[in-house]
Amino acid sequence: MSEVIVITSGKGGVGKTTTSANIGTGLAALGKKVVLIDTDIGLRNLDVVMGLENRIVYNLVDVIEGTCRIKQALIKDKRYPGLFLMPSAQTRDKTAVTPGQMIKMISFLRDQFDFIILDCPAGIEQGFQNAIAAADHAVIVTTPEVSAIRDADRVIGLLEANEIAKMECIVNRVRPEMVRRGNMMSVDDVIDILALPLLGAVPDDENVVIATNQGEPLVGTATMAGRAYRNICARLLGEDVPLLHFDNSRHVLAKLGGVFRKGQGAKL
């Protein structure tokens, strides 16, 4: 039985596309058959984050309009045997697709894949409605900032109204050093406010930028973000993986401080 997961956030720029790319790649690395679908029509980006932008022939709108068969629009990622991308259209807009058409297309894909990951556009308009229409499970990405959390809360309300029963949250771009100094909300603070189960927390890691520059998802690498994404994928497969413990104390003074503040390192 396949699972359809929508990656959403409300606010733009919190890391939906990066999260989608890493979850899709991570699940494929764990042996699952995965299709990533970029539902952001007019502003496609998942293809560049995945490093597959030069291989696009057909796209999501071509499939919906019947210009090509589903298989022709699926780009096979050569790095993993079970990983595919359906790119979005760059020259069209959100009105080119309806929620009913998305449900129909995804019902065809369910037979062939273990996971269908939908990268949702920012906002709560038609693009969002298209992306959530066929989802079984929603992953809400947020950062520890007031604007992102407010938008996440609004999106959660809309997902509840659309009867998406399974919802989990990823807290992205956490800076443990700032949390420790009392200048950033912690993962626990965010979960307390949103009252959703936590799927994982990802540190603000410069390796994400380096990976995106090269079109190589970093899931599974030895970087902090790579390990955090790997754990998120394992949790999606039902494994009980504890949160990463990330001690960011680089300076001698911070380390000395750490002795007196035993056990207070931020958990990721």
């Binding site: 900032e145 007031v146 959390i149 407010r150 809360d153 609004r154 959660i156 309300g157 949390v179 009392g182 200048n183 950033m184 909300m185 912690s186 603070d189 307390d192 406010i193 949103l194 009252a195 959703l196």
Partner: protein, 91 residues
């Protein structure tokens, strides 16, 4: 020493602001309606005791629902200082 120079942690400020903001976002109740409600409540209470209408606060909050979103319920908080009790026409 550090605390002397940094009076308030912004982490706590952010969390406090969000908690209040999200309650009004979720309840979706207009400031006009809150003002009408406040006026009506103060009229009713004034029949029985003298209250300080300037200091009166009416706010919608919510129960914590033991951390579960579905179990949170909205609650109406009314804070109204009493100036005099028993100075009414009712005995």
């Amino acid at each position: 020493m550090r605390r002397l120079f940094r009076p308030k942690k912004t982490r706590a400020i952010a969390k406090g602001r969000l908690k209040i903001l999200l309650i009004s976002d979720r309840v979706n109740c207009s400031p006009q309606m809150m003002e009408l409600l406040k006026n009506d409540i103060s009229k009713v209470i004034s029949k029985y005791m003298k209250i300080d209408e300037q200091q009166m606060e009416v706010q919608i909050g919510q129960t914590d629902g033991n951390g579960r979103r579905s179990e949170r319920k909205p609650v109406l908080y009314i804070n109204m200082p009493i100036l005099e009790i028993g100075k009414t026409g009712i005995s």
